[in-house]
């Protein structure tokens, strides 16, 4: 078992398999020369494998939004592992984009996005610190509450 897999288990998380895209795209692409891996936007799923839907500030609580962001971030890691074999090959997390399905007046984007950031720092420690943007969007595919994509540097 890789070091990062061990860490993930120890923290009590379960790494999902690669997320199957819902249309004509793939979950990850490696830019070989730049040593960067890009992920597609990943949607959060609950333990039953259903997409976590809802609108922050309306039909889903901030706590559930935080956990949805965590689940979506974990999903990106599942897809990365499936592409590069081992999460130990991640040199560092570079950039995170957290998109929150929210009402126009919503203000707690950072608190929701922290679900993803906390998870990455918990797992990768100092290699997990990243640049981040968090935005509120008026809609997301399939009504998802949160969508996350990231860029990581690989060995």
């Amino acid at each position: 078992m890789s070091k990062i897999d061990f860490k993930i288990n120890k923290l009590g998380y379960k790494l999902p398999n690669e997320s199957a895209p819902i249309a004509n795209y793939i979950p990850t692409v490696v830019a070989e020369k730049s040593k960067l891996i890009f992920t597609a936007g990943h949607l959060p799923k609950n333990v039953k494998g259903e997409i976590i839907v809802g609108k922050l500030g309306d039909s889903i609580s901030n706590e559930d939004g935080y956990n949805a962001a965590k689940a979506a971030a974990l999903a990106t890691l599942g897809s990365i592992k499936s592409n590069i074999g081992s999460l130990d090959n991640i040199k560092r997390i570079v950039k995170l984009l957290v998109m929150v399905n929210s009402i126009p007046e919503f203000k707690d984007h950072p608190a929701i996005a922290n679900g993803a950031s906390d998870l990455l720092v918990e797992i990768f420690e100092e290699k997990g610190f990243h640049a981040r943007s968090a935005v509120g969007v008026t809609s997301l595919p399939l009504g998802a509450a949160v969508e996350i994509d990231l860029v990581a540097e690989i060995h």
Partner: protein
């Protein structure tokens, strides 16, 4: 052997003129072999009227799909203007699709697929990319779709 340029000819696709940016930014920036391309909008519907509005409300879903295809052509024009030849593209890395939408819109994938399908048609395997799709409360000039992309070049 089929190349992106021969495919464009074979499909009788006429690329539009590469548009100038509408404000203080450049159409694209190359760093290493990565090409970061600004958000592109669609051309005119049937070369006549601007695509404008939110799909399902003020523009039909089919028109939004056509707009997404048109955005794809505009992106290819920018890449061709920069590299001189689409055969210089090694792969499409990322498509970031923004849709001018209502708060309950869910069919993002259907619309952005028109752009993704164009890329896979032209570049084959190398055209398959990661993708993120989101719904925006507004877009410049009320266009229905704006798409930002990252391409990788053979250098």
């Amino acid at each position: 052997m089929s190349t992106p340029e021969s495919k464009i000819n074979e499909l009788k696709i006429k690329l539009p003129n590469a548009a100038n940016p509408v404000a203080n930014y450049v159409p694209l920036v190359q760093t290493g072999n990565l090409l970061f391309i600004s958000g592109n909008g669609p051309g005119l519907k049937n070369d006549k009227t601007p695509f404008s509005g939110k799909p399902g409300i003020s523009i039909s879903e089919q028109d939004a799909i056509d707009a997404s295809y048109s955005v794809g052509l505009n992106i290819l024009s920018q890449v061709k203007k920069h590299t001189g030849n689409l055969d210089n593209v090694s792969r499409v890395i990322r498509v970031f699709g923004m849709i001018n939408s209502t708060h309950d819109f869910k069919n993002h994938s259907k619309i952005i697929d028109a752009c993704s399908n164009l890329f896979t048609e032209i570049f084959g395997q190398d055209g398959i990319h990661t993708r993120t799709s989101i719904g925006m409360v507004s877009l410049p000039f009320q266009i229905p779709v704006e798409i930002e992309t990252i391409f990788e070049l053979k250098i």
